[in-house]
């Protein structure tokens, strides 16, 4: 197994073999690779790993090492996921007690006041781009303080079909806002 923190060892040849194992068709192999990568990186994020991309690369390294015995394996995702679980277990055993970079977690103005101001402008712009329905939900969700806020959210949830429906709706809106703000900041930076 590849030790934590080691540099990537996957060679071009190994990567090519991995793609061939996924599919003989180039386009399909890249799509399959992309799909497996998305799922496994997300898995490593869910498992609290500090470098999910690196652990994905390690997973591919291990799979490639065994590729000659895998020709008949029916589901590349299932096999890669099995390996990913082992890679995560090993990573978990080797983790050091983590400490947060406190300044960068607690204060929203952490990166730079100028960037923070731009983030707020982008957020304002992205709020404008939301559909009227989504904008209404996110504004009402954040309205008020204390008891008023709880009551406001209850009414909002009743109108949307329950608390879980509200949670999922706000989660999707936040995701859209994150994507929009990131794109807006990139545009500003360039």
């Amino acid at each position: 197994m590849v030790p934590r923190g080691a540099s990537r060892t996957l060679t071009a040849e190994a990567f090519g073999r991995f793609l061939r194992w996924l599919s003989e068709n180039d386009e399909r192999a890249v799509l399959e690779y992309q799909s497996i990568r998305t799922k496994l990186v997300r898995y490593f994020i869910h498992k609290g790993c500090s470098d999910p991309d690196d652990l994905f690369d390690k997973t591919v390294d291990v799979v490639v090492g065994k590729i000659d015995t895998l020709r008949e394996h029916s589901s590349p995702l299932a096999y890669c996921f099995g390996v990913a679980k082992n890679v995560w277990r090993q990573d978990l055993r080797q983790r050091k007690p983590a400490s947060l970079e406190e300044n960068c977690i607690a204060v929203p103005t952490c990166p730079d006041p100028q960037i923070h101001e731009q983030e707020l402008k982008c957020l304002e712009r992205c709020m404008d781009k939301l559909s009227p329905g989504d904008r209404d939900v996110v504004v009402r969700y954040h309205q008020g303080q204390g008891h008023d806020k709880i009551e406001s959210r209850k009414r909002l949830a009743d109108g949307l079909g329950g608390v879980n429906a509200l949670r999922i709706r706000t989660c999707r809106i936040r995701r859209d806002l994150r994507v929009c703000v990131a794109a807006c900041l990139d545009q500003w930076a360039n």
Binding site: T11, A12, E13, F15, G16, V30, Y33, Q34, K39, L40, R42, Y43, F44, I45, H46, K47, G48, C49, S50, P52, D53, L77, F81, K85, L92, A98, L100, I105, P108, C110, H116, E119, L120, L123, E124, M127, L130, S131, P132, G133, D134, R135, V139, H142, G144, N164, R167, I168, T170, C171, R172, L177, R178, V179, V181, A182, A183, D186, Q187, N190
Partner: protein, 280 residues
């Protein structure tokens, strides 16, 4: 056993509290990876944890788990920052979205005589308004229906745009055939980097094959760098065509010309130029 869609179970999973319970941890992991519909539930539980962390309403055990486990991935730190930004925006930033919450100013008291003199005029005004409303009512109903349809259409098209953004691939391919010495007249290959792009897969057709590995490094055209480097073995086909296939992260790449410099102890250095175009 609880269903994996159970939010409390999911919360324990995301806080790492099931890591020592192999069977159930495995079951939840399998459920998430193999069921796309779980993604929304997982994401919304993550949001809930972040919200409670920012509110300071987590118990000490959960807060500890958030700080030592949950917030380890950079993607989650980014999510936390984004939640902080949204919270800060609604709490402090005056804007037309939040303005209605802030207009809690106190009006100055008005003398009662002033009210009395206005009652007559007000009664006449009410009569006029009522007759106007009867006429306008019908117009407004159909107008409201049209506005509603328009709002639904806008919402629908906005959703389609968002879905299209999410469907953009995170990997782009770049094929390089001719090095700088062979491509003086030809336009240099271009790679488009979108906001969704995470990695660039490169295939380089080699001219002449060296024994052993190649050193590949990414530089700006002026030779600044390396921005990325690797030692790679070529793929050689049965008819001796050789190529290098590898991928590198697109993070940090800006619009401009870059070079992939390929060298080995036995073959002279080749520079493969390409134009990166950042699209957002």
């Amino acid at each position: 056993m609880k269903s994996i869609a159970d939010r409390n179970l999911m919360r324990e999973y995301l806080l790492g509290k099931l890591d020592n319970q192999t069977e159930i941890e495995d079951k939840v992991s399998d459920g998430i990876v193999n069921n796309q519909e779980m993604i929304d539930i997982v994401d919304s539980v993550e949001d809930e944890i972040i919200e409670e962390y920012l509110e300071g309403s987590l118990n000490s055990g959960d807060r500890d788990a958030v700080e030592k486990y949950f917030l380890e991935p950079p993607q989650r730190k980014e999510k936390l920052r984004s939640a902080q930004l949204l919270r800060y925006y609604f709490e402090t930033k005056p804007s037309h979205h939040t303005a209605t919450n802030r207009e809690n100013f106190v009006r100055p008291p008005t003398p009662w005589v002033f009210h009395l003199t206005r009652y007559g005029a007000f009664a006449v005004l009410v009569l006029v308004v009522i007759s106007t409303l009867v006429y306008v009512g019908g117009v407004r109903t159909s107008h409201a229906r049209l506005e509603n349809q328009l709002a639904q259409e806008r919402e629908h098209s906005a959703n389609l745009v968002k879905e299209a953004e999410l469907l953009q691939p995170s990997i782009v391919a770049l094929t390089l055939v001719a090095d700088r010495s062979r491509s003086a007249e030809a336009p240099i290959p271009q790679v488009d980097i979108k906001s969704s792009t995470q990695r660039i897969i490169v295939e380089i057709a080699l001219h002449g094959v060296a024994s052993g590995s190649y050193d590949v490094r990414l530089e700006t055209k002026r030779g600044e760098g390396p921005l990325w480097s690797a030692k790679l073995l070529p793929i050689i086909s049965s008819n001796d065509d050789a190529r290098l296939v590898f991928d590198f992260p697109s993070r940090g790449i800006e619009s401009g010309v870059y070079s992939l410099v390929v060298s080995s102890p036995t073959v002279s250095v080749s520079r493969y130029d390409f134009q990166a175009k950042v699209l957002h």
